[in-house]
């Protein structure tokens, strides 16, 4: 019995996955008579009825523009939007609500840091440390900055298991190191990076750290004060919320020093053609009318997840991952890519002699939705010398029957190509 299984058995209340599944209307879908087996949660998660209902209630009875008018509806909408911010603050244990900036998602959050912090504080000859595991969204903005400023990007390598080489990370630091960007959990391999340790090392050298939490936040309890990260980015749609919404957490002192990225309404205190005074944080970074409904929905989504408990979610998902991993390990002709000791519920694999796109199409014919491709992490693919992988990613609403369906599905793929 694994440690996780032991923990599961000793839990006072069993996690009832079938009751959870009933909350998600989309899981009742069938394609060609085959029930949907949704294992593409790392790309986007599904939405429970409670969040769908919350969006309907907001649009039906609470919507107006925010921070604008004195009328009642605008006050209600503003209160709901700001309440959503507080829900996110509690969800990641930020010290203050003004440290939560609503963005359109993780990519937008990282771009905000690049423009607001990077363009102001990173210059010619300065160095930015990233890792081989990064998603393109935490590579490309920094490349754009490096090109603009004449800065340099240094890359932390990984071992054959897909784990960061921490000694190499530490040896990359020098007097020119000005910034570190690292993802918390690899979307391509599932590796959980030792970000707390990496942050402490960077801070000892006065270097701020951005954590890309897009893939971590859905799978584990995130505590930004415990991590002591300077920035943390995440997306609503990977947390059972709507698309088009995410947050950037930033320490207040850093957000205060940053320049705004987008100009417009709501991010100002006063405007004249001679001088514009910017609003306080977080509003300084929220120009224009934000996706209010999506923010409210995001708030409802983290309430839903918190009610279940992120620790319980993590345990159930790791049980699914363990079970799938053990079965795939025993399958001849199937190789798991990414075998880190610490992993979240992301399983990349290769089937010998079968291109991932053929795997994906044939699994789809059995109702099984997986992602195939480079997962917006081409440096990871290059490191493992594969053009692409097939990736099954689990959420807390997946069950053991779906793990079995995946295994049977892979066997069926092998049979076609036998």
């Amino acid at each position: 019995m694994t440690a996780i299984q032991t923990a599961l058995r000793s839990r006072p209340q069993a996690f009832d996955v079938e009751r959870i599944r009933a909350d998600f209307p989309i899981l009742k879908l069938k394609f060609d008579g085959k029930p949907l087996v949704y294992l593409d949660n790392a790309a986007s998660s599904q939405m429970p009825q409670a969040v769908i209902d919350r969006l309907v209630r907001y649009q039906s009875a609470q919507h107006a523009n925010i921070h604008r008018a004195v009328h009642t509806l605008s006050e209600i909408a503003t209160a709901e939007y700001e309440e959503a911010r507080r829900k996110l603050q509690r969800f990641i244990n930020a010290r203050e609500e003004r440290e939560i900036v609503f963005t359109s998602g993780t990519t937008d959050s990282i771009n905000l840091v690049m423009h607001g912090y990077g363009r102001k504080f990173i210059g010619a000859g300065d160095e930015i440390i990233l890792t081989t595991l990064e998603h393109h969204s935490n590579i490309v903005p920094w490349q754009m900055l490096a090109e603009e400023k004449g800065a340099k990007i240094r890359v932390v390598p990984i071992n054959d298991a897909g784990e960061l080489l921490i000694d190499a990370y530490e040896s990359l630091f020098n007097d020119r190191t000005k910034f570190v960007g690292v993802l918390h959990v690899s979307n391509a391999l599932g590796t959980v990076n030792p970000v707390k340790q990496m942050i402490a090392f960077a801070h000892a050298r006065g270097v701020p750290v951005l954590i890309d939490g897009a893939q971590a936040a859905p799978h584990m309890k995130v505590d930004v004060q415990d991590l002591d990260c300077d920035f943390y980015a995440m997306s609503g749609h990977k947390l059972c919320g709507p698309t088009g919404i995410g947050i950037l957490y930033g320490k207040a002192a850093l957000l205060e020093r940053m320049q705004p990225f987008k100009g417009g309404g709501d991010m100002i205190l006063s405007v004249s053609f001679e001088k514009t005074i910017y609003n306080t944080i977080p509003h300084k970074f929220e120009a224009g009318t934000p996706p209010i409904a999506a923010a409210v929905g995001f708030g409802a989504a983290v309430d839903y997840l918190s009610a279940i408990g992120m620790d319980v979610i993590a345990m159930h998902e790791l049980e699914l991952l363990d079970c799938a991993t053990e079965q795939i390990k025993r399958m001849p002709g199937v190789r798991i890519i990414g075998t880190a000791a610490a992993k979240a519920a992301v399983l990349s694999f290769a089937v010998d002699g079968v291109h991932p796109h053929d795997v994906g199409t044939l699994l789809n014919q059995q109702g099984i939705a997986v992602r195939t491709g480079h997962h917006c992490a081409q440096p990871v693919m290059q490191r493992f010398k594969v053009p692409a992988t097939s990736r099954a990613s689990f959420a807390f609403y997946n069950n053991m029957a779906e793990v079995d369906a995946l295994i049977a599905g892979i066997r069926a793929v092998q049979k076609v190509f036998a």
Binding site: H355, H357, D358, T361, Q365, G373, V416
Partner: protein, 162 residues
């Protein structure tokens, strides 16, 4: 989805397992590389044109079953044909794969290449089937490298007579 199931039929699986004309040509008169950056499919095509006639053809590469079988069947089909006939096949294959050719009713020269008709129901796989044909077009026109994501993508641009 019935068509997509039919896509992985024996003829395609056979060409994937044992691709015809796989390898290189000694004295190629025309070559091109085709690349689909979205999935990493990558093929190299070499032709030997004797005047207007395709005397020899070979391909190599790393690709999914649909792309590899398409390349294999393409080379088997065009060998010995005129360049003009091959250009016609490029157009017809593209139209079949993208669903603009009703191959049951409209006249065409595709023959058993119609086994690829199922890709029209799988938008993400259409480019896999078309890539070899795209590369053939590039080779004819002395374009050394082509990509499914480039501006001359036959998905978007007229090919052949243009």
């Amino acid at each position: 989805m019935a068509d997509s199931r039919a896509l992985y039929q024996e003829v395609i699986l056979d060409h994937n397992r044992k691709p015809r004309n796989y390898g290189t040509l000694e004295h190629a008169s025309h070559t091109a590389e085709g690349h689909n950056p979205l999935c990493g499919d990558h093929i190299r095509l070499a032709l030997n044109l004797d005047g207007d006639r395709i005397d020899g053809v070979a391909f190599q590469g790393e690709a999914c079953a649909i792309c590899k079988a398409s390349a294999s069947m393409m080379t088997a089909t065009i060998k010995g044909k005129s360049r003009q006939d091959a250009e016609t096949l490029i157009r017809e294959f593209r139209d079949m794969a993208t669903g603009t050719l009703d191959f049951d009713r409209q006249p065409h020269h595709l023959g058993r290449l119609t086994v690829f008709a199922g890709v029209r129901d799988l938008p993400t796989r259409v480019k896999c089937a078309i890539l070899p044909w795209h590369t053939l077009h590039a080779a004819f026109n002395a374009v050394s490298s082509t990509s499914t994501e480039s501006e001359d993508d036959p998905m978007h641009a007229p090919i052949g007579d243009a």
